[in-house]
Assembly symmetry: C2
Homo-oligomer: 235 residues x 2
């Protein structure tokens, strides 16, 4: 087995900030699988054209090429059934599928409003024109207009976490006593923010805050140690 | 065992429209438990004062008194472990807890905007003053201002269903091949709407639409047969 993961990187090749790439990175760690992690920039569509599309994560497992973080997760689960399960059960898999869509449809929007301008300042210079044009077209606003209502968007983000908060007020992880892919779907969102910006997304007495600390500690502090603009100097 | 369920009713005592009471009703049917179902109106707080609070559903199981639909669900699961499981597994229970909060925090708001004035027209005359005052105070708008932007709220409602749609495009029920309490949490919202008003909440090619049909058919058409202002005359 030879695994290669293409991850979105900033101007600093070690700054790997894509929420979806983080889902895959946590999934690989959960399975105890080591992958060569290659930095990829928005302007390098040609480098992943072999995957038949233009977005990361892209995972190559020997002859198998996969894109889309959810497809990668289900592939890893089915291909490596003897390693720790990402889902735990068919019901856990359903929950993870739900969480993945929930995080993408609920958490991405307020975080995008908060982070997009800062992302622009951190991408490779070759990516700047693409990033500006694609985002300004897609969202019909100037990059400089992002991040101007952060307080409101943090409030929206926190409100959107209600279902996770309800569960995490009763147990340490979304599926119970141990982390599963459902956790990584939400955690990817937090890693996106952590990589880009120092910002208090959560109040310290929020059960989601304690959960995030647990996720940062997993796999010998994999996520906590990752280069991130929002990492505390002390951690 | 002697089970009694207090359900919110309209002026027509058979119109039982509370989404939370529907969660409990489906849970009881899932467990194969028959309960005496008593109509309760907003103005009858005194009748459920023995439960220590003022909302339905209230379930009385011999000497045990329970309120809050989620607490009732977990009670039924733990008290009647030999009957069909409401959750299927610890992970299914986590998913249901998540779905319950998700439906309450995501689906209730647009439905409330759509339904509140119609609810007012259907409640018992003794409830009208309470309903108007409590809703107008809580939401800081006149009852007559609800239902005036239904198209927008239907759009919001459909968008909020994205996580359920993602799962239900791949499998018949939220947890897999069979219904669980996660389904009933969302289905309660649809029964709320169905009881109150004839309205097209879903497009017919939405996977959620086919799922709702499946839920209406469960338990010999329990929900489909229930008195409802939005029920098709033919069904």
């Amino acid at each position: 087995m030879s695994l290669t993961l293409y991850e979105l990187a900033g101007a600093d090749a070690e700054l790997r900030f894509s929420p979806h790439c983080w889902k895959t990175r946590m999934a690989l760690a959960h399975k105890g699988l080591a992958a060569e992690r290659l930095p990829w920039r928005f302007s390098e569509k040609a480098n992943i054209a072999f995957s038949g599309q233009g977005f990361v994560p892209v995972l190559v497992d020997d002859e198998t090429v996969l894109s889309d973080s959810w497809r990668i997760a289900t592939y890893l689960e089915d291909r490596y059934p003897d390693r720790p399960s990402l889902f735990g059960s068919a019901q856990g898999r359903s929950f993870a599928r739900f969480c993945n869509s929930w995080a993408d449809s609920t958490q991405v929007l307020p975080l995008r409003m908060i982070l997009t301008y800062d992302i622009f300042t951190l991408v490779h210079e070759n990516d700047r024109a693409y990033f500006r044009t694609s985002r300004e077209t897609r969202f019909n606003r100037k990059l400089e207009e992002f991040g101007t209502e952060t307080e409101k968007h943090v409030t929206d983000f926190r409100a959107g976490l209600a279902p996770a908060r309800a569960v995490l007020s009763e147990q340490p992880f979304l599926c119970g006593e141990a982390p599963t892919y459902a956790d990584y779907c939400l955690f990817g969102m937090f890693m996106w923010a952590r990589c880009i910006k120092k910002i208090e997304l959560l109040e310290t007495d929020d059960p989601v805050h304690a959960w995030r600390e647990r996720l940062l500690d997993l796999f010998d502090g994999l996520a906590r140690k990752a280069p991130a603009m929002g990492a505390d100097a002390a951690s």
